[in-house]
Amino acid sequence: MGQIDNPQSSPIVQLSLDALASARKRVFTGTRSQLGTSSQIGIAVTLSVVIAVILVALIFDFTNGFHDSANSMAGPVATGALKPKTAVIIAAVLNMVGACLSTEVAKTISGGLFDDNLISASVILAGLVGAIIWNLLTWLVGLPSSSSHALFGGLIGAVIVGAGLSSINGSVVVSKILLPALIAPLVAGVAALLATKIAYRVTRRTPSAQSEGGFKYGQAFTASLVALAHGTSDGQKTMGVITLVLVAAGLQETGTGPQWWVILAAGLAIGLGTYSGGWRIMRTLGKGVVEIETPQGAASGAATGATILASAHLGFGLSTTHVATGAIVGSGVGRKGALIRWAMARRMVFAWLLTLPGAALVGGAAALLADRGTAGVVVLLVLLAAVCVLIWGISRRNKVNHLNVNDSHEVLVLNAAQPASFVDGQELQHDAEHDVSNAKGAA
């Protein structure tokens, strides 16, 4: 049990189309038993659940995009290899392309975490809600955390509410989620550390202006590769969830791939999410942990790309977020005199550890509502919208966008938390520049 198998043959988030005939029955009988005997009501409820799941899955895809655009583009944005807007446009297009490139969706969603028979439309809905809220909360405080872990956490919480704690396979949680989360940053970190050393060693006699320029191109290329790889894995996830629900509701033939509009909608959602930038996380990853120069950026990009590709093709699926973060820290260790903020690195690790239980709590709470038929689903959707608006509103108090992403290394949540020295420092700098230009003018 709990074997970590090849993600090519069975990716972590998978949909079992073979098991869908029974899932289809479950969706109908489940909703009917809750809402009486009329089959018409049963179908109507199912349709509302289906629409809700599609909507919420696309919202999740959007949060997945803006949460993870930092994984590929934080480095190039921080070093100036790519302008912030250019970086997110490239990442968005490549994520969309990636999402449309690969459409093998015939898989199971649970990845062995629990019995596939426990997956119903309401469990998927609750799991997605848990993942979305967790993604938004971590985005608000600017912490990178794995979107797949958030989705698993949400599903686990929903399944526990429905079927009890014993339905979760603990050894799979350890071997498929906790262990990879420890290993991914280590492997990518070591790779980036050694690559950074090589980069500085090989180019030690090269004028730094020229090597900077060269590594900028290298960084842009590797970042693009990471964005494309991200699209193929995460864009597919949402398509899989939507297809599962469509098949379960009898709106699509068992054993068929995703519909063209599902591919298009999922690709658009992740692309738009990526384009919107997730600047808070980009600031933390690009500026908050390590001060990086272009050779380090190229090294961490290469390490991220190589580790993701190797893990996807050799049978040990690793989270893009964990890999990218480990690589950036590694590139900081690899250059002598680079500033590393270990306190921030520790906060990230805590966020990773909290992702599963945190999303599980939200997912569990959401499952309590999602199980209560149409009214519950409607209340859940309204609550989700309210939480989204609330978190967005709080984020506006300390906006991070493409203009100021590189201005600070901190992501602040409340105005009260903003240190006066930062604001003063900015103004002082402006004054100083002003004075210098005045002096020049006078001279």
């Binding site: 490139l101 690969s102 071997s175 070591v190 790779a191 690559a195 020229q210 050799l314 040990f316």
Partner: protein
């Protein structure tokens, strides 16, 4: 709990990731070094052909590495 981890797969992933990263970075760095050297030599009116050819060969190999990565991602090729 009976935890089974495929340590061999993990080791292979770790080694391939690290070696792959290092080869790419070595090629990229060498390319940048020699292209830059060619520029310096040209400025000094020395022969820059060898350095330029070497530099762009390294960069080309690094580019092939990226293309191989793209090849791995696209399921159409498999």
């Amino acid at each position: 709990m009976n935890i089974h981890v495929d340590w061999q797969a993990l080791l292979i992933v770790a080694v391939v990731s690290i070696v792959g990263t290092l080869i790419f970075m070595a090629l990229l760095s060498a390319g940048i070094r020699y292209v830059s050297l060619a520029g310096v030599r040209a400025n000094q009116r020395q022969s820059s052909v060898v350095a330029r050819v070497a530099g762009f060969s390294f960069l080309g190999l690094a580019g092939l590495f990226v293309l191989f990565g793209i090849y791995l991602i696209i399921p159409f090729f498999h």
